[in-house]
């Protein structure tokens, strides 16, 4: 089996994997990072969104081998010790989740939005969430959370 090496949440990791191993399987099953979820098998729900070299990507639609040499960050890498990332804090403050299944993907996607657009409008947030589905909230509080999180990230 080939060996794959990458950086995950700042740590170098390496393992032998079958080429067909998806990045999300590698994160969840090999590294035990179960914060990244799998909600569909059609690449549409976004529960699996992580950052690969700083850009959001669906880790269910990437092979672990494709992330060879990359810098990957997951929801587990966002907080600074006990201090939540401003986007996580904004979801908590604004009731941006109910069951929480979609939340890791929502938060990772939102952080990428703020990278490309520091001060998004409500419309831009809604359009950005095209690839993230939520079965619970009706999106309203997610949008509110992301607008608040974007402001907080600007500091």
């Amino acid at each position: 089996m080939p060996t794959v090496s990458m950086t995950v949440n700042g740590k170098s990791v390496s393992a032998e994997v079958e080429p067909r191993t998806l990045l999300v399987q590698y994160l969840r099953e090999h590294l035990g990072l179960t914060g990244t979820h799998v909600g569909c098998d059609t690449s549409q729900c976004g529960a699996c969104v992580v950052h690969v070299d700083g850009e959001s990507a669906k880790s269910c639609t990437m092979l672990a081998m494709q992330a060879e040499g990359s810098d990957v960050s997951t929801i587990e890498g966002l907080a600074d010790g006990d201090t939540l990332h401003p986007m996580q804090e904004a979801f908590r403050e604004n009731h941006g989740l109910q069951c929480g299944f979609c939340t890791p993907g929502m938060v990772m996607s939102a952080v990428d939005l703020v990278r490309t657009n520091a001060d998004p409008s409500e419309q831009e947030v809604r359009e950005w969430l095209e690839g993230n589905l939520c079965r619970c909230t009706g999106y309203h509080n997610i949008v509110k959370s992301i607008l608040a999180g974007a402001k907080a990230m600007q500091g």
């Binding site: 080939p2 079958e18 080429p19 067909r20 998806l22 098998d41 059609t42 690449s43 549409q44 976004g46 969104v49 850009e55 959001s56 990507a57 669906k58 639609t61 990437m62 092979l63 081998m65 494709q66 060879e68 996607s109 990428d112 939005l113 950005w128 095209e130 690839g131 993230n132």
Partner: protein, 265 residues
């Protein structure tokens, strides 16, 4: 997913050689179509040849009269590119409305056209803008490249390297997206390039992208949006599915062409 061998190609030649020595090798670009297909076990290639490290396949260059986009250039890069936004804003807008941000971060123009999904956006962009598809072997006009549903003129192992778009005088793309997937239920690229008017339609036909001759005649040299709207398109050979009937798609072709013409102005 069935297992396969995986190789990251280091150059175009390396990729082509790896493909030809494999039993049944597939190129892997963004994986946004290929990986879901593998997950569903709808394909079983023996080898995947990843093009990600072939550096000279990605990038956008402005050659004066035309813009050339490397096969591995992502939809997000095309959408944000200063050159494309200023010279062919219709193409940047098309790329910026493919799927969702994560699909645009990884999906590529080469993968999209090689796949030729009948509801994909780029085929309409390429045919409408009279693009030239460049491969490791030849150059061919987009109209000859897209041959049928999920079929292209590509031969076994032939590698798309770039797509070259002549800069149009006027162009706009209008799509009626499927609300769930964002693929086109109907999308029309209306463009005028060097005096020629084109209307290329995706999403509608059972055989993939096509030029709508009656719409092009109605649009004429002045891109007459009102005249395009009046054209009664035949529903023969159009797709019908749970999203839209053939008659509805026929109607949408005139409406989307008219909206694109008005936007191209």
């Amino acid at each position: 997913m069935y297992n396969f061998n995986y190789k990251k190609a280091s150059s175009r030649d390396d990729a082509v050689a790896a493909q030809s020595s494999a039993d049944d090798g597939s190129y892997l670009a963004g994986g946004m179509t290929l990986i879901p297909t593998l997950k569903q076990r709808l394909a079983q290639p023996s080898d995947l040849i990843d093009l990600a490290d072939v550096g000279d396949l990605a990038g956008i260059s402005d050659d004066g009269g035309a813009i050339t986009i490397g096969a591995m250039t992502t939809h997000a890069t095309v959408a944000e590119s200063e050159v494309v936004t200023s010279k062919i804003p219709a193409l940047a807008a098309l790329a910026g409305h493919i799927g969702d941000p994560q699909v645009r971060n990884r999906g590529t123009i080469g993968g999209s056209i090689a796949n030729n999904d009948p509801a994909a956006d780029y085929p309409a962009g390429c045919v409408g803008l009279n693009a030239t598809i460049i491969t490791n072997k030849r150059e061919l006009p987009a109209e000859d490249f897209f041959t049928d549903l999920f079929e292209t003129a590509l031969e076994e192992g032939e590698l798309v390297t770039a797509v070259s778009f002549p800069i149009p005088d006027k162009a706009a793309y209008a799509k009626f997206p499927n609300p769930a997937s964002r693929y086109a239920i109907v999308g029309v690229m209306v463009a005028q390039t060097g005096g020629e008017t084109r209307a290329a339609v995706t999403g509608a036909s059972q055989s993939g992208v096509f030029r709508a001759a009656d719409i092009e005649a109605a649009l004429g040299s002045g891109l007459d949006a009102a005249a395009a709207k009046e054209v009664k398109v035949s529903a023969d050979n159009l797709n019908a599915d749970i999203h839209a009937s053939a008659e509805y798609r026929a109607h949408l072709i005139s409406i989307m062409a008219s909206r694109a013409a008005a936007a191209a102005g």
